[in-house]
Symmetry: D3
Subunit: 136 residues, 6 copies
Amino acid sequence: MSVVYLTRHVHFSAAHRLHSAELDEEQNRNIYGLCNNPLGHGHNYELEITIRGEPDPVTGMVMDLKEVKAIVEKEILVHVDHQHLNHVALLQGKVPTAENIVMVFWYALKDKIPHGELYEMVLYETPRHSVRYRGE
Amino acid sequence: MSVVYLTRHVHFSAAHRLHSAELDEEQNRNIYGLCNNPLGHGHNYELEITIRGEPDPVTGMVMDLKEVKAIVEKEILVHVDHQHLNHVALLQGKVPTAENIVMVFWYALKDKIPHGELYEMVLYETPRHSVRYRGE
Amino acid sequence: MSVVYLTRHVHFSAAHRLHSAELDEEQNRNIYGLCNNPLGHGHNYELEITIRGEPDPVTGMVMDLKEVKAIVEKEILVHVDHQHLNHVALLQGKVPTAENIVMVFWYALKDKIPHGELYEMVLYETPRHSVRYRGE
Amino acid sequence: MSVVYLTRHVHFSAAHRLHSAELDEEQNRNIYGLCNNPLGHGHNYELEITIRGEPDPVTGMVMDLKEVKAIVEKEILVHVDHQHLNHVALLQGKVPTAENIVMVFWYALKDKIPHGELYEMVLYETPRHSVRYRGE
Amino acid sequence: MSVVYLTRHVHFSAAHRLHSAELDEEQNRNIYGLCNNPLGHGHNYELEITIRGEPDPVTGMVMDLKEVKAIVEKEILVHVDHQHLNHVALLQGKVPTAENIVMVFWYALKDKIPHGELYEMVLYETPRHSVRYRGE
Amino acid sequence: MSVVYLTRHVHFSAAHRLHSAELDEEQNRNIYGLCNNPLGHGHNYELEITIRGEPDPVTGMVMDLKEVKAIVEKEILVHVDHQHLNHVALLQGKVPTAENIVMVFWYALKDKIPHGELYEMVLYETPRHSVRYRGE
């Protein structure tokens, strides 16, 4: 028995604004700075989805990569690509920080993986800022 | 006499929406597709600014890179970083396509270069889509 | 009147073998080395297609990037992606060196660009080896 | 006592075809799609080898990087670089999926590390598709 | 309760020479090779700092990235950027191998993180050579 | 007749200090800032060498890439890799700015290219700072 980690790297482009309904205007400006700009700004997000599982002894694959891509497309990308993240249903009621986005994506995908299990998601907001979630 | 091309690579994050005031709603949707989404989306833009000039015989530099950075910061980045490009003064009245953005940046910078001359600007909207302008 | 260069970056994976019908076995081995291995080897090719043109005054675009992608897909990628380059019709009778591939791609695309003109193609065989063609 | 993870990043170019002897032609085509193309295709593989160990108190190194490189060259790269992976001895009898390749590489290297122990291998088949193996 | 890993990617440029006071000249040359060159050489180091913690329920952030950046600047970068690593106080008495540098950086930062805890540091000396430390 | 541009991408690591013998200490500090630090600092330099020529009608190559690599190794890399650039013969009497380095490399290579001609050299001192020289 052997366990391999399979990672699919995808991307999407979206706008967002960091603003918490639980903070007043001044607090929002102080905490989020330029990210609190009312009209929003945006990013090319890079997302890495890792599935942990045993390769099938016949096919030699943990999962068909085309199938991974189709699930990620359906459960995540179609909802956020070229959208404003403060206005998408998936993120309703959340401040769209990288931390909140990666956790929301995790739970959108977690029960849709037919072979193996979701192990880790890494989200790059920029090449200099990334977050990882492992379901802990 | 020798001519060297000096390139400074910078970046900014911004939102935009592709929508032309000269087209009706349906035309806008047909032409720009998801990029016409009313709430906008966004990108991590990468910008390469190339200055053509003769290195100073004493310092060995076309221009001090710190000085290039300061000029680009003042004339371009401060106006667009973490902003919504459809609402910044620099791009007023322009559809914020990569083509229009790079031309606007060119004219914002062109007369501010103290040594050598602006030769080329390259703007990456995503790692898969870029534009170049040379003042032609 | 203004001229902008629009670049679309695409990729494909393919096998090839460097072997010239005009050389004998020993010459082929001496010239191409490991690249002459009879069973072939392969690469993830990166291809950059640059179109030179005037942005449309209404849309602000040289060409719709989706349209560029569709043309490149139809005229080039569908013929070579996940193929063995010594056996594709597009490259028949050519040693599939990066130099020959990029020239063949150029002539496959040249007359299919509806706005502006093909200006440059860059082909990366590996991140350490690339070729450029400009129709000269 | 301190434990550091040392990673060497290498690369090789190879052809492969995904085809399982335990499946019939139609099943192979359905499961592997274009990757089942009889003539094969290819990739620039990137391989990251991580060794876990205590830095030597005199030299400050877990292992000499030149020595790591020489071992990886001898045990792995010389067998696969510029080869067709369906025809190399190291992978005999295996469908050359990324999952199977990374496991075969692991066992080829595992007992050859003189200081510390092999901790993780990451194999990129393309920049969008990678696998990790940790000997589990 | 949820745990997210937040990573900030920074960089610095520095010179170093690998030379151990506990080895004689010949041993130093044999072990370190070109890296033992008396005048030193240098690198563009890339450093990834990962903090593990629970996102604040109001702000949605493990830590403000600007605050992470300011701490890393003060505790690490200001001491090593554009310096010769064999002559900086932080590394006094250490051979500046990547292994030793990453451990020294770890202990310089470890107690300065106000929210969450330092989880991992990755240091790239070149794109082909990196080390990881997790406080083990 | 067709002209293709062939580019080989190589790298080296070196230390340098920006200091002009024609300026006094204070002028050097003011102009070069941290780069004037007496002990020097360093970089991972990336160098792109482009040769312009007609592919050989039999081999399909402008030049054998292994031959390009050997010439660049002999004429440039062996002199600067893992060295302090203020102390290498090739750069004697020059302030080792990127501008001066790229011009020196040009003239070291220019007459050694057996097929085609040297067209362009690009030198990256960091991923954010590069220079180009074309023999003008």
